[in-house]
């Protein structure tokens, strides 16, 4: 992954969020406060502006910048969580072009950042429930000899499955936890946006 690919990834995320804003809003209406769509759209459109500003030389520069922009523009739970994740991913991609293994460890750093900040574990009905299987699938595909594109494709599928699987969970973190048992039966908005982020990665790596 080079700076151009990292940039393409962020642009693809922004496009995907734009397309799915209403879906994220609806999901957050059901078990949260109906702002996840607007939050993510505000954040990634700010990222597009931030990336347009300056030439960024490494994928790390692009993604650290993305993370910092998310932190300063999103607010809510998603802002610091995704912001920290992208900053961690970016910090792990210092060179001009990262191989698939390095992308794996960067994504893992991102997950670690989310978990450290939010203290969620799998099953809590959060971002973590899409992010964890995505990283696992990514890793497995590399083990099985696949390249970046194949790994990203598997990660996207796993993230989507992970997001769907949150439907039957009872939330234990974030706003949905206030609903207790009433949170069951609705897909988690954050897990859903995580799946969009991995799907965007799969799309741009295949080009």
């Amino acid at each position: 992954m080079d700076a151009a690919l990292a940039r393409a990834w962020v642009q693809a995320i922004a496009a995907a969020i734009d397309e799915h804003t209403d879906q994220l809003t609806q999901l957050d209406s059901a078990i949260g406060d109906a702002d996840h769509g607007a939050n993510m759209r505000r954040g990634f459109s700010a990222c597009l502006d931030a990336l347009a500003d300056t030439p960024l030389e490494t994928p790390g520069d692009v993604l650290v910048r993305t993370g910092a922009t998310l932190i300063s523009s999103v607010g809510g739970a998603a802002g610091p969580l995704y912001g920290s994740a992208f900053r961690a991913i970016g910090r792990a991609l210092a060179g001009p072009d990262a191989g698939a293994e390095q992308v794996l460890s960067a994504l893992t750093e991102g997950l670690t950042a989310v978990k450290r900040l939010g203290a969620a574990v799998p099953g809590d009905k959060t971002i973590v429930d899409a992010y964890t299987p995505a990283v696992a699938a990514f890793e497995q595909e590399l083990w099985e000899g696949g390249g970046l594109a194949a790994a990203a494709a598997h990660a996207a599928e796993a993230a989507e499955a992970g997001a769907r699987a949150t439907t039957t969970m009872q939330a234990r973190k974030g706003r949905a936890s206030y609903l207790g048992p009433r949170s069951v039966g609705h897909q988690d908005p954050g897990a859903t946006s995580t799946a969009l982020i991995f799907r965007a990665l799969a799309e741009v790596t295949v080009r």
Binding site: T25, S29, I31, G32, D33, A34, D35, G37, A38, N39, R42, I71, S72, S73, V74, G75, G76, A77, A78, G79, P80, L81, L117, G118, R172, K173, G174, R175, S177, Y178, L179, G180, R182
Partner: protein, 333 residues
């Protein structure tokens, strides 16, 4: 959706401009990042009290900025906690050199953003402390959840700690007082109607004509339980009993009773409910020494109310009575 707005994405910014124009004597408003600061900030040598949270709860927090209460408020997007940048900018504007207390309502987003801000601010060698209020008894606390929410009790905390800071209390005392309020305040709310977030355009939940939601938060989220509509006597009892049991409040306790409207409930209903709550408390031998009645912590146009009880002692009562001069709470000056 019908609202007096131009565009959902500019609502908060335009409202801030209007607020600045409405209260030039009290407030100074910065737009990007958004900060509402008291007009005479920074007050040299005074601990700065800063709060913030999503917009849509007005007058909280911007309406509580001024002498004797908050030095600054950081308004996020509607129902979205502010970003660390806003908090950092607020600190820059109002830090008077005696330290900063961040008053945070317990939500994952608020806590994370304020924590991040606190780290950034500490790097600039400003002494900063954070207190997290979680007064909503609707949510059961546990190690494995996000914990209780911060709701209407926040106003009482901000008033009391703000008064102490104005009187010259140091950061330790301000923090200790905040923790004392948090330890002694409990709230519970209900909704008769949902609210509509501008960029969503639809009510955040649907309630039938004979239903209400018990245990709602302040972000348009559904409550813990949907119930059949009841007379005011019963509604008030459903709010009061869990609040009383939780602390618990007992006969002989002196309290401040705060009867809060969620925004769309008319004052005539709110006073009626307040009267019922006072009578129920009197029956239990709990002494209401101070009261606050009105729409102070709202959820846009939501119809509904919350009850908050704060156990008082002489220290808290005196600080509650101290002069305050803000857009929404004002006495003694």
């Amino acid at each position: 959706m019908k609202k007096i707005i131009n565009d959902p994405s500019t609502v908060v910014d335009e409202a801030l401009q209007g607020m600045a124009l409405a209260h030039p004597d009290l407030l100074r408003v910065q737009r990007d990042p958004a900060v509402i600061a008291r007009a005479d900030a920074p007050v040299r040598g005074k601990v700065a009290i800063i709060s913030g949270g999503g917009s849509g709860h007005e007058p909280m927090h911007g309406g509580f900025v001024g002498a004797g209460m908050l030095d600054a408020a950081c308004p996020g997007a509607v129902f979205t906690s502010p970003t660390p940048d806003q908090v950092q900018a607020a600190v820059e504007q109002v830090n008077g050199g005696a330290g900063v207390l961040l008053v945070v309502k317990n939500y994952t987003g608020d806590v994370l953003n304020f924590e991040t801000a606190a780290e950034l601010v500490a790097m600039d060698d400003v002494e900063v402390r954070t207190v997290v209020i979680d007064d909503d008894v609707a949510v059961k606390d546990s190690l494995y959840t996000a914990g209780r929410r911060g709701v209407a009790g926040t106003v009482l905390l901000e008033k009391i700690v703000g008064a102490a800071a104005e009187q010259g209390a140091d950061l330790d005392r301000c923090e200790a007082l905040a923790r004392k309020v948090i330890a002694n305040v409990r709230s519970l709310g209900l909704a008769l109607t949902a609210c509509t977030v501008p960029h969503v355009g639809q009510p955040s939940f649907e309630l039938a004509d004979d239903e209400y939601e018990l245990g709602i938060g302040i972000h348009g989220e559904p409550g813990r339980e949907r119930r059949q509509m009841e007379p005011a006597d019963d509604l008030v009892r459903r709010l009061l009993d869990p609040v009383l049991e939780d602390l618990p409040f007992a006969a002989g306790d002196r309290v401040l009773l705060f009867t809060n409207s969620m925004g769309g409930t008319p004052l005539v209903e709110l006073y009626l409910a307040h009267g019922i709550a006072e009578k129920l408390l009197a029956e239990r031998g709990i002494v209401v020494e101070r009261r606050l009645v009105g729409p102070y912590v709202t959820s846009l146009e939501m119809q509904g109310m919350s009850l908050t009880l704060l156990k008082l002692d002489d220290e808290l009562t005196e600080l509650w009575d101290a002069p305050v001069r803000t857009a929404a709470l004002r006495w003694g000056m």
